[in-house]
Symmetry: C2
Subunit: 208 residues, 2 copies
């Protein structure tokens, strides 16, 4: 019991008290619930690996695509459009909009000169290879990349990473775009900060 | 003392306890501080009125422009560009970006069919008149309006108001734009909601 509490308390955002509450819950619940949870954790750790095309999470047990993620394995996705994200969690958030029909590329981080993270620590080379040789990693044959959408976080390091990638990609003659920046839908202008309002004025668009 | 507490407690966001604390502070502070505050409140109420051009707050005591606000009274502002906002507080937030050199129009609210607010309850007619006859209200002579930027709140009612105004304005052949909508600078994509991410994908822009 003490070991379970210790292990649970190492999860992010779970303090000692929460860990105790979770541990008691697990002890009180039916045996097969606890075993299912136990197995799910072990399986995830053993079977989930990066997609060999885009580095998204892939390889859930029974996944028919083997070492490809569910997006890259879906023949209906448009392989000519690649959206670059920092991490798989961003991809999940973007997928929830259900409006993007292209594929992704997960960088596995962002450039951070202060923390010593350079292009070699990310999947940058894989991204450039996808543009240079679309069929190299993709058993589905691939398609020439027409547009790369940089969907990095709108932060200092995200912007720096986007600038670096834009330079590398535009050398290759591919169209490079970035997500729109401005006021978030549903918000109030009077509470928006200066940088957000400046982006919104600068990027204003014709009313359609 | 009880009356002062009562009056302070009627201000928004000030509860009974805060009102008591403020009242004690006023009683303890030097006489001239309290009188200055008292006069400032009375003066504001007596002297501040809507700018006769744009309906922004105007007429602070000693204001050389008389019944014009400080933006409309500034000859360096570009009168050919009019940014439409719901209320003066939005104008103040937008001015803090220090990047907009045009003038404003304060609607004094937004269209709200549910609350019975129609175009006649706002300064819509004044806005259209500014476009139709630029010199009518403006002692500086005015200038033909080239662009109207709709800077309404990115909400359901703000959008409805923007659509109504865009229709009225485009009949008059003036260019109509709206603020950019997307991910707010400094935020994290993984925490953005679906609507914000959908706007950001839809409005993506070429990397410059």
């Amino acid at each position: 019991m003490v070991r379970l509490v210790d292990e649970l308390a190492r999860l992010p955002g779970i303090g000692r008290r929460s860990a105790e509450r979770l541990a008691f819950h697990i002890l009180r619940s039916p045996r097969d619930h606890a075993m299912t949870l136990s197995r799910a954790i072990a399986d995830a750790k053993q079977n989930v690996r990066p997609c060999r095309v885009c580095s998204n999470l892939a390889g859930a047990p029974g996944d028919p695509q083997g070492s490809m993620c569910s997006v890259c394995g879906d023949p209906r996705r448009d392989r000519a459009m690649v959206m670059v994200v920092e991490q798989a969690r961003d991809l999940i958030a973007l997928e929830q909009t259900a409006m993007y029909r292209g594929v992704y590329h997960v960088l596995m981080g962002r450039l951070s000169p202060l923390e010593g993270v350079g292009p070699g620590d990310l999947t940058t080379a894989d991204l450039l290879r996808r543009v240079d040789e679309p069929s190299a990693n993709d058993p589905a044959g691939g398609a020439p990349v027409r547009e790369v959408i940089l969907a990095l976080n709108p932060t200092l390091e995200g912007d720096g990473t986007a600038m670096y990638l834009a330079e590398e990609l535009s050398k290759r003659g591919v169209k490079v775009t970035r997500l729109a920046r401005g006021v978030p839908t549903g918000s109030q202008l009077e509470y928006a900060n200066k940088a957000v309002l400046a982006d919104a004025i600068e990027g204003r668009r014709p009313m359609e």
